[in-house]
Each structure stands twice: as structure tokens, then as C-alpha cells.
């Protein structure tokens, strides 16, 4: 039908800005500076195992914390009246309208050794804590920045659960806990999977948060890749190889998750 031509702009867009860059990354990853085919770039990555493991570990921790905080928030939100729901969603979205860098800078000034947090602690007569430039600071930054991406998909799945299903469960003898455990939670899993994807992927590749809150000692994959393209270590071939490996690992993670979350078709974001 003629309608299919309407998708042309989208196809062109995808080809230019998604497919082409991926091809370029692949080509770079398998060539040397001289332009010859090589596996050297991958061989060199052995020295960066710690960066890989730190990135994935922090991303997993952040994603887990986002679920722990985000799920109850989404659930409570879905129980509010329609008007309250809109207001609360606004409040959750509000920080996202502010610049990402700015938000992260704000956390710097909170977590600094002489920052707001420590000043408050001192005021209360408590010992100061050293958070800035530690993995903890990175996790805090990630959770703060990515939490809305966990809350919103879970919320949108829960509000769509048919009210009559909950009544049916009550009717069959389920108390509030059982209704949640046997009906609401399983039906909300697609939202949780979407949330995991939307939090985990940016978390594993972030570089701003780690630079600003993690200091130099807690380099993450994002920083490593950035260094290869913009930094002193300039080596786009190595950078592409790292990016490629990260992409493959992320895709495997997502694939595994979707496999275990059978029935969570809506979660397939990739």
C-alpha cells in the first residue's frame, strides 16, 4: 500500500544515524591506524578488564537500587487519584527538564568533603563522610539521574492492569498481599524489564557521572571510550573495539533477561 512510503523518512533516519555509525564502529574496531585488518584492538583490551567489571558492577547495583526505589513509587503512584497521579508524574519528570550536567554538578556540591551533606552532618555533631570520588558517589548519581526511567515504564504498565482482574482475584479469595503477589506483580514485570533496559544501558556507558562524582580513580567504560576519541590517548580504533564489546555484552544481558522474563514481550526495547 501507499502508506508504507510514509515510513521512508524513518528508514532514512535509521540508516544514517543508527546503521551507518554501527558499521563505522565495526570497521574501526577491526582495523589499525594504517587501515589494515587486525584483531590487535581487541587484544589490547585485556588491560581494561577492571574497567569493564567496575562498569557492569556499578550499573547492576544502580539498576537494582532503581528497582527497589522505583517499583514501590510506581505502585503507590498508580493507586492515587487521577489528578494526584498527574501532579506526581510532573514532579518526577521535573528534574529531567533540567540539564543533566547541571544536575550532576549539583550532586558534586552536595557530596563534596566540604559540601552540603558534610556541613549538615557537622552541624548535627556527626562525623563527616567521604563520598565524593568513590563508587558510592557514582551510584548515587546514576540512581538519581536514571530513576525516572525505572518509575515511568513500571507505572505505565501497572495503571493499565484491568481493574476487573484485581476484583476477580479478590473474588476468588485473595487478600491484598495475594492480589499483589499473584496478579499485580506478575503483570507488571514487562514494565520492570523495560525499566531495567532503560536504566542499565545508559548506566553502563555513562561517563559524565563517573568523571564528576567518581574522580579519576573510578574510570568507567564510558570514560575509557571517551578518552580514545577525545582524550590524550587518542585511538579511535581501540575506542571502537571497546564500544563494540560493550554493546555485545549489553545485548547478551538484554537477551537473557527477555528470555527469563517470558511473556514480557513489551520489554523488548532493543
Amino acid at each position: 500500500m501507499k502508506l508504507k512510503y510514509l515510513s521512508a523518512p524513518y528508514i532514512v533516519w535509521m540508516a544514517l544515524f543508527v546503521v551507518a555509525p554501527v558499521i563505522i564502529v565495526v570497521v574501526y574496531a577491526f582495523t589499525s591506524a594504517a587501515g589494515e585488518f587486525t584483531f590487535d584492538n581487541f587484544a589490547k583490551m585485556g588491560g581494561y578488564v577492571s574497567v569493564f567489571s567496575r562498569s557492569f558492577l556499578l550499573a547492576i547495583i544502580s539498576t537494582a537500587i532503581c528497582i527497589i526505589i522505583g517499583y514501590p513509587v510506581a505502585y503507590i503512584l498508580s493507586k492515587e487519584r487521577a489528578r494526584q497521579q498527574r501532579i506526581l508524574i510532573m514532579l518526577i519528570m521535573l528534574p529531567m527538564w533540567m540539564n543533566f550536567l547541571l544536575r550532576t554538578y549539583a550532586w558534586m556540591s552536595i557530596l563534596e568533603n566540604t559540601g552540603l551533606l558534610n556541613r549538615l552532618l557537622t552541624l548535627l555533631g556527626l562525623p563527616a563522610v567521604n563520598i565524593i570520588n568513590t563508587p558510592t558517589a557514582i551510584v548515587i548519581g546514576m540512581v538519581y539521574n536514571f530513576l525516572p526511567f525505572m518509575i515511568l515504564p513500571i507505572y505505565s504498565v501497572i495503571v493499565k492492569i484491568d481493574r476487573s482482574l484485581i476484583e476477580a482475584a479478590q473474588d476468588l479469595g485473595a487478600n491484598a498481599v495475594t492480589v499483589f503477589r499473584r496478579v499485580i506483580f506478575p503483570l507488571s514485570l514487562p514494565g520492570v524489564f523495560s525499566g531495567i533496559t532503560m536504566v542499565f544501558v545508559p548506566a553502563v556507558s555513562t561517563f559524565v557521572i563517573s568523571q564528576l562524582l567518581g574522580g579519576g580513580a573510578n574510570m568507567l567504560l564510558g570514560d575509557l571510550i571517551e578518552m580514545q576519541f577525545l582524550g590524550a590517548a587518542y585511538n579511535p580504533h581501540l575506542g571502537s573495539a571497546i564500544a563494540l564489546v560493550m554493546m555485545v555484552i549489553v545485548m547478551i544481558c538484554m537477551w537473557l533477561m527477555n528470555k527469563f522474563g517470558a511473556g514480557g514481550e513489551e520489554a523488548v526495547m532493543l
Binding site: L165, E167, Q170, D171, L172, G173, N175, R182, G263
Partner: protein, 388 residues
């Protein structure tokens, strides 16, 4: 006389200043098939939801076995519901949907073992003719099959009462007829009290022991299907149940009613002398006779062939009657009619007087239009799936 199981006393329901139920009093007996019948918005579903515990009446009391249960939440009531849109759990297969209530509850004071659950689920599948479907995804089933799963899921808990909220509404006509017979059979086999909500008068008449006709949040009449059909209390009930000609009359004395200035013998009594009344004459109770033998004479304005009979519209001094007859009368012919005393039913005037029972706007298309409301969904495929 079976004992009373459920009683609603002066139940009133108000949603946002809107009186949905107005002082409903209803008694439901053990083992009874009771139908709440009425047009949409009459309060029948709200009544059902009060019994199910999903809503609390604004005022009034609900009793179950003599105990007030207003504050008992749905999960603690020995009542199960078949929801209008079935409300099957999409994340569970047929087997797990049916087993849901068995898994989460204590039955006779203890948890059921795996084997007991299995045998009860399989027994239910047998009853609703869904053997072999246990591991099917509920979303892959046809409407009729989902319906059966919903019934099985409710009945497997062996409730005292099964509430059914227009359970056949989404099915096509033929499947609906089959399911009506099926439901009645299940009700008789299990001895469970059924409280059934529908707007389909035919369904109500053919299945129920007791019919409760509702309109505007008020119970209009409670009775057996025969009572409701033969002795409607007012013009609303007469019109809602079957076809009826409703005309103004004057009750001269016991057994004599005047219609269009002519005196007719009837069986009704107990009205005040010369009381203005509504008179119901069912289309099948009118005999067409020669003009000279007619108690009234009129002109045929419309004839529709209906298979078993003709629908004949006859004009009597501007008021049009529907007559169902097996004799063909050509349009524009003059005919006489005769009505036996038992074909006349006299009712007191009510708020509904003058609103129903005139066939002036009758047209043959009318029937088709009202049938089309049932919705074209699944009509053909449904049947095929069901037969397969």
C-alpha cells in the same frame, strides 16, 4: 420452601449525587436461579456488586445466612463472580486460572494438596467441556471458551452463590442459546444459587426461577417468569418483557373493563369503580375475526412475515396495535378482533403509563436495528471455533 440465603434490606446506592439504587429489598433463596433484569443503568449490576462486596451500599444492609456482611471484603465472602468481560488472568494458562482460588485459599480449614487441586480442576474442565485445553493460553481462546473458563474458575471453589454479570453478552446469538442451556444444566447439577444479571428478557424468562425486573434503581416486580409475563404490574414491565399493546382503559367493575368505549370481560378484580387503568393485551392473545363478529374493528396498515406467524399492525382509531397471527390479512383491509377474558390484563396507572405499548412508529426494520446492537464481533469465527 427453601431457606433464605441473601437479603438486601433498604439498600440505597448513591454515586456523586446520582441515586443508582433506591431502597432495594430483595430476598434470594438457596438453590435459586434468580435473574436481575432491566435496561442498562437500571442498577442491576450495582446490586450484584453489592452482593459480591465490591461496593458498599450508601445505606441499607446486606445479610448472608442471616449475618450482616456489609463490611465483609470480597475475598472473605463465599460468593464467586463471573465477570462481564471474564477477567481471566492473562499471565496464567487455563489450568492455573481455574486453580487460582484453590491455591490461595483454605478449603474446609486446610490447604488442598496438589493432587486434590488437580482432580478438582480436571473435574471442572470436564463440566465446562474444556478437557484438553488446560495448558492453552487464555488469550488464545474464543469468547465462548473464555466464558467457560471464567465459569469453571468461579465454580471450582464450590461457592454458595455464583454471581453472573451479563456473562453471555459478548457471545453471538447461537452460542448464547447453547450457553443458556449449559448454565441452567450446571446450576441444576451443582445446586448452587445463581444470581444472574442481564438485559435480555428472553434469557431471563427461559433460565430463571425468579425474575427481578428493575428500572431507575427501583425493583419494579419480582416473580416467576410466568408471573412477570402474564401479570406485569405496570406498563414498564409489560413492555420490557415481550411485546405488548398497552392502552388506556376504565375499570367499570370487577371483571369488566372499558377500552375505546367498548366493554370487555376480563379476569381482573380489586380496582376502584371506574378507576382509570392501563390494559395490556399481548399480540398473540388477539384473534382476528370477521368485521361483523369483531369486538373492535380496525384497518391493517402493515404486515410482516416472521416465519411462525405474521406481525400485523392494525390501526384502531389512530392507536396502532401489534397482532401476531397465522392468518394473512392484506394491508388496508378492515378486520374485526376478538379478545378472550384471559387475554386482557389490567394494571394500575403508574409513572410509566402512556410511555409504552403503542406501535405507531413500528417498522419492519426496527427488529433488525435492535438485533444489530448485539454487535457483529466474532459472529462467524466464534461458531466455527466452538464446533471444532
Amino acid at each position: 420452601m427453601a431457606k433464605e440465603l441473601i437479603r438486601l434490606r433498604d439498600c440505597t446506592m448513591v454515586f456523586d449525587d446520582d441515586v443508582v439504587l433506591n431502597k432495594i429489598n430483595l430476598s434470594i433463596k438457596d438453590n435459586e436461579f434468580l435473574t436481575l433484569l432491566g435496561p442498562s443503568g437500571c442498577g442491576k449490576t450495582t446490586t450484584l456488586r453489592i452482593i459480591g462486596g465490591f461496593v458498599k451500599p450508601t445505606s441499607g444492609d446486606v445479610f448472608f445466612n442471616g449475618v450482616r456482611i456489609n463490611d465483609v471484603p470480597p475475598h472473605k465472602r463465599t460468593v464467586n463472580t463471573v465477570f462481564q468481560k471474564y477477567a481471566l488472568f492473562p499471565h496464567l494458562d487455563v489450568y492455573e486460572n481455574i486453580a487460582f482460588g484453590l491455591r490461595i485459599n483454605r478449603h474446609e480449614g486446610r490447604r488442598l494438596s496438589k493432587d486434590e487441586i488437580h482432580s478438582r480442576v480436571m473435574e471442572m474442565l470436564e463440566i465446562v467441556s474444556l478437557k484438553g485445553f488446560e495448558h492453552r493460553d487464555v488469550t488464545s481462546l474464543s469468547g465462548g471458551q473464555q466464558q467457560r473458563v471464567a465459569i469453571a474458575r468461579a465454580l471450582v471453589n464450590r461457592p454458595k452463590v455464583l454471581l453472573l454479570d451479563e456473562p453471555l453478552g459478548a457471545l453471538d446469538l447461537r452460542l448464547r442459546k447453547d450457553m443458556q442451556i449449559e448454565l441452567k444444566r450446571i446450576q441444576e447439577a451443582t445446586g448452587i444459587t445463581f444470581v444472574y444479571v442481564t438485559h435480555d428478557q428472553e434469557e431471563a424468562l427461559s433460565m430463571s426461577d425468579t425474575v427481578v425486573v428493575m428500572d431507575g434503581g427501583v425493583i419494579q416486580q419480582i416473580g416467576t417468569p410466568e408471573d412477570i409475563y402474564n401479570e406485569p404490574v405496570n406498563a414498564f414491565v409489560a413492555d420490557f418483557i415481550g411485546e405488548s399493546n398497552i392502552v388506556d382503559g376504565i375499570m367499570i367493575e370487577d371483571g369488566v373493563v372499558e377500552i375505546f368505549g367498548k366493554k370487555f370481560a376480563c379476569l381482573d378484580a380489586g380496582f376502584a369503580p371506574n378507576e382509570p387503568v392501563d390494559v395490556v393485551i399481548r399480540p398473540e392473545d388477539v384473534d382476528i375475526v370477521d368485521i361483523k363478529d369483531g369486538m373492535l374493528t380496525g384497518t391493517v396498515t402493515n404486515v410482516t412475515f416472521k416465519g411462525v406467524h405474521y406481525d400485523v399492525i392494525v390501526d384502531f382509531k389512530g392507536f396502532k396495535w401489534l397482532i401476531q397471527t397465522t392468518d394473512y390479512c392484506p394491508v388496508n383491509s378492515r378486520i374485526g378482533i376478538k379478545i378472550d377474558p384471559d387475554g386482557i390484563h389490567v394494571m394500575h396507572k403508574s409513572q410509566y403509563s402512556g410511555m409504552f405499548g403503542d406501535y405507531s412508529s413500528y417498522s419492519a426494520e426496527y427488529e433488525e436495528i435492535s438485533d444489530a446492537e448485539l454487535g457483529p464481533e466474532e459472529t462467524v469465527s466464534e461458531d466455527k471455533l466452538y464446533e471444532a
